[in-house]
């Protein structure tokens, strides 16, 4: 989850990273009660990149200019997102601009400090200009000084930049971040530093232990539709593709292997979800059963999906309840189907398929009871297929997703 700039700056201010006087504007008329002095800069608070290029950043000298600019920004969508807030900020005369970041590198399993004497660098060629220091052991300010020196800084500027880095690191650890970035860090003619823009990416696995972040995440979820959430909160645990076969599994590897098999067998994988973890949209603790129910709902609601392929191997929590969830889904569809058939005067020749066929791969003795139980269900012939062999399950799903199988 990425924070908006004004939220980042509130955090920066609290932890002692220098930021300019600024004010949150919820409506253009708020500018009449502006507490900061002109000239100001108004910035659209959206998640999308290239905000300045799109016209989301404007400078204003007077209240009238500012209100007009704010009205403009409030009605300007950037990558489809309209700002709910505009940030008004004092202007700053920068002599030099730097890039600073603290990021978690999962390959070395350690946080890394990054620094560059240029802001807005071209990431393609960053290798030559970017300096880094791996925080091997417990953090101590010398790591920050080491980076500042690597960047070629000296004297008081070396001290003030490393002090900013130190505070960034503390924020990084305190709030469980994946990334905290200052771009640019401006340096004035007299050597003062100022964070002009910042970025914070929160690790989704830790949101729930920070009440303030959980609240922000809940707000995002209640405000946006699911595809937008996906963009703002990052991936849910799975991948979104646009094919006809939805996949549910009980582990990332399993989900990916199933996806590969479907693609190799000539099928088109759709949304693939791993039920092992909670979804990011879950604000309260969930069980496997809940996640299966949500997963099935997501796939069923997806008009593009014609077949749902479930791959469970080994063991899953709450097997019995999980099987009941599957049974309920299949039977509900089945009863709807029957009632429609009755309404059409029993003429079964009419094509009424009001369900998404399920192909379930269950391997393991834990599923013996489940297989027997599922076999007793009275369903439409295509509604439910239980298979033990993975390659066969994939072949069946690909066959059922062929254009002849209509849906809704």
């Amino acid at each position: 989850m990425d924070l908006l700039e004004y939220q980042v700056k509130e955090w920066f201010g609290k932890i002692g990273i220098p930021v300019l006087p600024s004010q949150r504007i919820d409506h253009p008329t708020d500018l009449k009660r502006l507490k900061i002095r002109f000239p100001i800069v108004l910035k659209s608070q959206v998640h999308g990149a290239e905000r300045a290029k799109a016209g989301g950043v404007r400078f204003a000298e007077t209240t009238i200019d500012a209100i007009a600019a704010a009205q403009n920004i409030f009605s300007l969508p950037i990558w489809g997102e309209l700002p709910e807030v505009v940030l008004a900020e004092s202007q700053y005369d920068a002599n030099q601009e730097f890039y600073l970041a603290v990021v978690l590198d999962t390959a070395v399993c350690r946080p890394v400090l990054l620094g560059c004497k240029e802001a807005d660098i071209d990431w393609e060629s960053a290798g030559e200009k970017m300096h880094h220091v791996v925080v091997e052991q417990e953090f101590s300010p010398f790591y920050a000084r080491r980076l500042a020196l690597k960047m070629g800084l000296q004297g008081t500027l070396m001290q003030s930049v490393s002090s900013v880095l130190e505070k960034m690191y503390h924020l990084f650890v305190q709030k469980d971040l994946d990334l905290v970035e200052i771009n640019p860090l401006a340096v004035s003619a007299n050597g003062q530093v100022m964070a002009l823009n910042g970025k914070v990416r929160i690790n989704e696995r830790a949101i729930k232990r920070h009440p303030d972040l959980a609240e922000m995440a809940a707000k995002i979820i209640s405000r946006h539709t699911s595809t937008e959430i996906n963009g703002i909160l990052g991936d849910w645990d799975g991948v979104k593709m646009h094919g006809k076969i939805g996949i549910l599994g009980n582990g990332t590897g399993s989900v990916m292997a199933t996806l590969d098999l479907v693609a190799n067998a000539g099928g088109n994988p759709g949304v693939c979800l791993n039920l092992r973890h909670a979804f990011l949209t879950d604000t309260t603790p969930t069980t496997f059963r809940d996640r299966l129910e949500t997963g099935l709902k997501i796939l069923e609601a997806d008009k593009g999906i014609q077949v749902i392929l479930i791959n469970f191997l080994g063991s899953i929590p709450q097997t019995e309840e999980v099987v009941k969830v599957i049974a309920r889904v299949v039977q509900q569809d089945n009863s709807e189907l029957e009632s429609q058939v009755v309404r059409s005067n029993g003429s079964k020749s009419r094509q009424v398929q009001n369900f998404t066929p399920l192909v379930i791969r269950l391997a393991g003795s834990e599923f013996n009871a489940a297989r027997k139980y599922l076999a007793t269900l009275k369903t439409h012939s295509d509604a439910l297929l239980v298979v033990e062999n993975l390659d066969e399950a994939v072949a069946a799903a690909v066959r059922l997703a062929k254009p002849t199988a209509n849906k809704k």
Binding site: L114, R209, G253, S315
Partner: protein, 295 residues
Amino acid sequence: MNLTPESKVLIQGFCEFISGTHVAQMQAYGTNLVAGVNPGCGGQELHGLPVFDLVEEVIEQFGVIDTTIICVDPYDVLDAALEAIASHISQIIIITAGVPPLDMVQLLRKAEACETLVIGPNSPGIIVPGKILLGTQPSEFYTPGVVGIVSRSSTLTYEVAYELTKAGLGQSISVSIGSDAIVGSSFLQWLQILDEDETTEAIVLVGQPGGGSEEAAARYIAEAIDKPVIAYIAGRQAPPGKSWRQTGTLATVIGRDPNFGTAQSKLAALKEAEVPVAERPSQIPELLRKEIKIN
């Protein structure tokens, strides 16, 4: 490595990912489970195990514990593991999935300093078929034999074991090192263990996108492993995901290949190391048979 039926084993916590069935399965397999630790439940019995509030109480009563299986809430994993290290337990298996990465950074610093072997998080543990089961691996898919399995994915570990068993190929040791972004033990450590293990004649390595561990493993296989290795990489058709994009962004910065972390980069590394790669799990037995002479 202490993987004998005599090793004393502790379970810390009983969360969603471990059930009474798993505990019973381990016991039926001959694993010497001595106790459970569940703060607040001291003095009770859970899944047929005596329960204590602290790890040190278990040590007082049963002496040195060889392995602990941690299955507490993700946010409590760091604390449980530090408690185990403080009680000088040298082998830790973390079943819990979704541990906050910065907690893992802290745990790994401590574990490296104390030379503790940490497996997982998000790992179903280790099985030595016919001998010992440490974790939640479904033992029914395994038969004793000569193929070692090392994997980053839980379910794919069993998938591979299942295919091998169906094809009449037994297994020596199977371990899933865990599929969270940051895990304790590495492919390299396990390749070395399997290379030294007398029962193991061939190794199956199972990978997925993210990080650079498959690439490192490929180089290590070419340099140091004498036994035949077969690989399988899941996620070749998956679009690049967020979980590994982050390391990708860093790639150019610290001099890594822009392809870092992708399935393609892993496949290229394995090809370079001349490691045969299976297209799908069911193809693994066939590739193995070309490398080792069984039946």
